[in-house]
Structures are given as structure tokens and as C-alpha cells.
Point group: C2
Chain length 378, copies 2
DNA sequence: TAGAGCCTGGACAACGTTGTCACGTCCGGG
DNA sequence: CCCGGACGTGACAACGTTGTCCAGGCTCTA
């Protein structure tokens, strides 16, 4: 993780626990760097002015500067002016690290999500940010890249930063590592997927119901041979959507053939192959239910090159779904609402209002645009 | 900004400078909260164990714990084991605030962007994050919502957190407020738009050249009456793209009529109206150049309901552009590459390698998909 | 066996801020 | 005229960590 060719020597974000197995070998370059006069000999990290400097320049006491900086009462207009002048002249900026150390609160919350580049998480993150901002807090977010280890690493790094609260979109299925943190007072809310082996607040979409309704929609339009392409059932949302698919089929008395479901594929190539397999053969499916927006888009691409019209319903809405030919029918979940709900619950925890962990499920909405209303062909 | 109905009492992120105009009125609720036993009476923010506690439990000295936690050499295996046990038993986690205070480096960088929910910035942010991670640093990002004041507030809040570096996507056009920070050693790189009234590193796309090529592409396909819909020229990228448009037209010897350009509109309704105006009248445009991805999408919607085919080239690529009918020809810029380049330059600054601010311009790429190759109609 | 050198571990100060408390001054009322 | 209180101000400790420095015990060699 460390780039040893670089002399930028950041702190080590690994948790103390990571040391369990023995001594860490300090890289040679880092050891050398330790000897270099990079500490506070003043070359690079130009000594910033402190309140002490401001106080000296303004000819007042340290605490008076603190009062001015924090807008506390009990400072005459004249003194305040002198202090302000000194602040501006020196370019002073309060050091929040010291402040946090003293106060015990950081006024920041952490968000661990899968991938900021995913159009589903952008709005979610933004919604959390807005709520945080409304409460005067800063949001720090990081991507787990769907890797449980990285999720843990990130969450614990945020805890080491002493964020007041944590919103986590789980990548892994065991979050006991957060128990000491929660016990220590870190407010925690899980979003999109439930927490693993730990009792905590969870905000979810109704993945099961949404998928069931989406598949039922296809059945209502005459389909019986319906394919399902989704993510690994290890991922809770994927499992729930699969369950919704199976339930809808069972409710309609339709036996599901193995060849109709494809699980665990996410990359476009394999999704394409899976879709093409379902669409060929002696008894091809006449409709496809896509388990998430990435799958949906790939399936759309496959269907675009397909002769026979095939019905499609996707989980997750996406931009431009209405402009495609035909428009793509989706089961939409409101990412921003998920984020907002989670963040608000987080702050209610911080207010000390909430005690019992709860599981909140937000409804989904079926949006018919054409692709889900195509009749069975062939 | 503060939600006074909430008892969550975060720190005040305003910069000290904001106090210039006088005392801040402390809200009554906040003052009351000061008296409540919420400080460190221990009810909520459960006293976390410190190294001292660990040391006591393990029966060793404080510094020995520090050594174990940081993987420093000079601790026997037996002592280390005892310390590790104590750490685990107490659920200790190093307090990075104290660490930062002591070390002077935070191993975190800040990113100020416009809106995380915008599909252009998600990948950019993610790219910056990955580079930061490779250098062992954490990324803190915030949205300015295109508001210069909010940009400043955010950037200064990040500086108060003592981020080691700052990547800024400017919303405003005056960044002199960052001068003291840069002087104090905060590495700074501006992305996507140049910094205002300050000499700093800038990473840009070739907005001018891209737009010129895009418009030239339309001209090459026989168009002469070409419309331009873009953002306020106050925004640098918008201005550059407009300049590219004008230059391409001038190069082809085509005089531009006022009614062909629409500036400063961003919301879908007004973009729609602007597009419809260009497309009606006695001498309608036969092609449109859209100044950014949001405009492009809206124009696509308008054109979809239009009788006559109208050619379209958009600045910025977007997902599914190839699946529309016809595929949308775009001038693509690589958001991730912008982020990567900026972040790498930032860390090179932190390494002390760079001295002279530079302006880096990344090329754009024209992707022909059909809409830009339509011949003039009417 | 004594002295030199290494290895392990701990005492202590410092980082920059804020909460506590105490000091001096000025005012009004007794 | 003096006392009580309000007000402006500053000295000081503490937050949790890390760098420095020193002490004591060990090994190794002469």
C-alpha cells in the first residue's frame, strides 16, 4: 500500500490489531527518512502560526485569542479588533486536530461505500453529505471496492480519526470488528445491506418485494420462461432479489429451470454470455429480470443486437432509461432517500434519542417504460 | 447551518476569519447545552481506552505500547504479546487526532468538487482516492454545490483539519483565500477549471480544442447553421468551449447569429426551451453542439420528440450514449485521468519535487456514434 | 572479571487547543 | 466610602500521542 519510491511519509492507517502477527518491518527508505531533517526543522511543513503567535502579536493572552476565534463572549470590541488583525496578518487558521483532541468530538462522520464512481452511490453519498452539513458535520468517505478487508481497514481508519458516526454500506458479512467502536460511542448505521453478526441500525430497500413485483409484472404480461441474472448470493441484496424472483415464480406456479438463473456474474463479458445462453437453445426465455443496474445495461446491449424482442425489467433505475428504445422498465430504489434516512438516523443516535437498533425498509417503485410490457415472442 | 433542534453539538467549521464582522451570537440552545453534563462526564462519549490504560493493563510503560502499536523495533516478543492482549481486551484504537497533533502530518488530502452525484465527478473522485490510497493517505471530499462561498468554507475547513494537500475543482474565480495555506505548506492542485488570481498547479481538459474539433466535425458533415447551448461563461470550461465553437465557425468562414447561442442555462426546462427556439423559426439550426453532459441529455430528449433529424455533438461522454438512437457523438474527456493526474501531481508536490506551478492540459477525444454524422436536413 | 557496547523499557516534554479558575478593575448601591 | 457583583482577561492543566534521552541489565571481549 505504501509507495516506497515516494518520500511523502504519511501516517500508518493500519489498525493496531494488524500487528498481532509480529513486528512490522520498517522499510529501509522510511527508516532513512526518519533520520532526515524533515521533522519540524522547518524546511517543508512551514511552521504555521498558532494561537500563541497570534496572542504575542496582538499583545493579549492565549485564551483571549481562543475566545475571539470561537466567537465566545467576553471580549471588548477593541481587543477583538487587535486579535483579528493579528490573525489576518499571520494567516492563522485554527488547528482542528488539537481542538478535537481537547473536545473529544470531531464533528465529522464517515461513510464507507462500495465505489463512488458507481452512479448509485454518488447520490447516496451526496444525500448523506447534505444531512451532515445541516448538522454542522463534515463527511469523510471512502470506497471499499467491494472488498471486506478494505471495508474494515477503512472503517477502522475512520474510527481512529474519531469520527462521531459511521455510515457503512457493507462489503463483508461480519462486522463484529466494529463492536468496540460502537461500545465506545461511535454512532453506526448500515445502509443498503444489513450488518453481519452485529446488532445495529439498518436502512434497506425492499429488495425482496421489489424483485417479486418486477417479476410478477413480467408474468402478468404473459411471460412464463423468465431469466434472472444477478450478483453473487453472498451479497445480501442479490440474495433477496433472487428470493423475490423465486417467490414470484412460485406464486404463479411456474417451476424455475436451472438454466434460467445466472448468479455471481458482474463483468459485462460474462453477463453478455449468460444472457445469450438464456436466449438461445430450444426453449429460450422470453423475458429477463436483471438484478442490478450494471447488469441491466449490459443486457440492454445484448438485446439491442437480438432479433426477437425480449422483455426486460431491471432492478435500479438509471439515467436515460426512458430514452432507450424501448424504454427500460425498472424497479427503482431511491438512493438519495436511503442516504438521507440513514444519516438522519445517525444523528438521532448522536442526539442520544435512539437506543434500540432498528431495521428500516424503504419501498421500491416499479416504473413501466415499455421493455417490461413486451409480450412473449417466439 | 446549525440545526438547533438537535443536541448533537459539533464543532464550528467556520474559519476564524468569518468573525471579522463581530461577535457571533451563540444560539441559546447551544449555550444551554454547554451547561449540560454532556462534556466528559462520561455518559455518552464513553471514555475510550488510551495507551496509558493499555500500558497499565499490560504492566509496561506508555512508550512501549506506542512502539507496539506503531510496529517500531525494540520490543521483545513476550512484551509485545502482553501489550497486544491488553489492546484487544480493552478494544483500544489509536487516537489519530493526538497523533496528528504530535506529528504535524495528517496523511489525508482534501477534494473539493461540485457535486458527487454528478456522474462526471464520481470517477474523478474515485481516481483521486486510489492515488491517495497508494500513497497511504485518506481522502476527504466535499461538494461545493457550485457555490463559491461554500467552496471556500469547505476548503478552509479541510485546511483546519490540516490536510496535507488539497485538490480543488473551482466553483469561484478568486482563490487568494488559499494563499496563506499554500504558503504554510498545503500542497494544492486545481482540476477541471483554472485557479483564480493565484499561481498554482492546474490540470485541465482541452476544452477549447475539444469544442472546436466537435463543431468542426459538424461543419465537415455539411452543417452551417449550428447552435451552441452551454453554461454561464463565468465558468471557465463553459467559456473555453464557447470560444472553441466560435473559432471553428470562424475558421470555416461562417458568421454566427446571436439566436444560435444560448448561454447560462443549465436546468432542463430552460435548456429545452432554448433548444426548441433554435429549432423553430424561419432559419432553424440543423445541428446543435451541447456544452456539457447535462445539456446533452436534455437536448437528446428534445430531439427525440422532434420531427426533423437534427445533428448533435455533446461535450462529455456519458453512459449509454452508444445505445441511443442514433448513438450520440461526443467530445469525451477522461474524468478519471484528470483526477489521477492531479492527485499524482499533488503527491509530487508533497515529495518536494515540484516547485514551479504548471498548467497541464489533457487532450479530448471525439467519439463518432451517429448523431454527429447526420447530414443537414430541411 | 571488568569495561564496553547493545538491547529493552520508561520518564518526560511537547504538539495546539480549550475548560477552569482566579485576578484585577470598574460600577452602582448601601 | 466600602462592599458586592459583573466583566474582561490571563495562567494553567489537560487532552493522547510521539521524540528524546537516560537507566538498567545483558552479552561479549580483553
Amino acid at each position: 500500500m505504501l509507495d516506497d519510491t515516494s518520500s511523502y511519509k504519511p501516517m500508518d492507517h493500519r489498525s493496531p490489531m494488524d500487528n498481532r502477527t509480529g513486528h512490522r518491518i520498517v522499510p529501509e527508505t522510511a527508516r532513512r527518512a526518519d533520520l532526515l531533517p524533515d521533522r519540524r526543522s522547518g524546511t517543508r511543513y512551514g511552521n504555521r502560526p498558532t494561537m500563541k503567535d497570534v496572542a504575542a502579536r496582538a499583545g493579549v493572552g492565549l485564551k483571549t485569542v481562543s475566545r475571539v476565534v470561537n466567537g465566545e463572549p467576553g471580549v471588548t470590541a477593541d481587543t477583538e479588533r487587535r486579535v483579528q488583525e493579528a490573525i489576518e496578518a499571520l494567516g492563522f487558521r485554527r488547528n482542528d486536530s488539537a481542538r478535537v483532541l481537547r473536545k473529544g468530538r470531531t464533528a465529522s462522520i464517515g461513510l464507507v461505500l462500495e465505489d463512488l464512481a458507481d452512479p448509485f452511490y454518488g447520490p447516496l453519498s451526496r444525500a448523506v453529505e447534505e444531512v451532515a452539513r445541516a448538522h454542522g458535520a463534515l463527511l469523510i468517505n471512502g470506497s471499499s471496492a467491494e472488498d471486506p478487508d478494505r471495508e474494515q481497514e477503512l472503517a477502522l481508519a475512520l474510527c481512529a480519526r474519531r469520527v462521531d458516526g459511521l455510515v457503512v454500506i457493507p462489503a463483508g458479512d461480519d462486522h463484529r470488528y466494529l463492536e468496540p467502536e460502537i461500545k465506545a460511542g461511535v454512532a453506526t448505521v448500515f445502509v443498503d445491506r444489513p450488518a453481519g453478526r452485529i446488532d445495529a441500525d439498518v436502512v434497506l430497500s425492499d429488495n425482496f418485494g421489489g424483485a417479486r413485483d418486477g417479476v410478477a409484472h413480467l408474468i402478468a404480461h404473459g411471460h412464463r420462461r423468465i431469466g434472472f441474472i444477478g450478483d453473487m448470493p453472498r451479497i445480501h441484496t442479490a440474495a433477496e432479489r433472487l428470493r423475490g424472483y423465486r417467490t414470484a415464480m412460485a406464486d404463479a406456479g411456474i417451476p424455475v429451470e436451472d438454466s434460467w438463473t445466472s448468479l455471481g456474474v458482474t463483468d459485462p463479458q460474462r453477463v453478455s454470455r449468460a444472457a445469450e445462453e438464456m436466449l438461445s437453445g430450444p426453449e429460450p426465455v422470453t423475458a429477463v429480470f436483471a438484478g442490478n443496474n450494471r447488469v441491466t445495461v449490459t443486457v440492454v446491449r445484448v438485446l439491442a443486437e437480438h432479433r426477437r424482442p425480449v422483455a426486460l425489467v431491471g432492478f435500479d433505475d438509471f439515467e436515460l432509461a426512458d430514452l432507450l428504445q424501448p424504454g427500460v422498465t425498472v424497479v427503482a430504489q431511491d438512493a438519495a432517500q436511503l442516504g438521507r434516512t440513514a444519516a438522519e438516523r445517525l444523528f438521532r443516535q448522536l442526539d442520544g434519542i435512539l437506543v434500540t437498533p432498528e431495521r428500516i425498509e424503504l419501498p421500491t417503485r416499479l416504473i413501466a417504460r415499455g421493455s417490461g410490457e413486451l409480450p412473449p415472442a417466439g
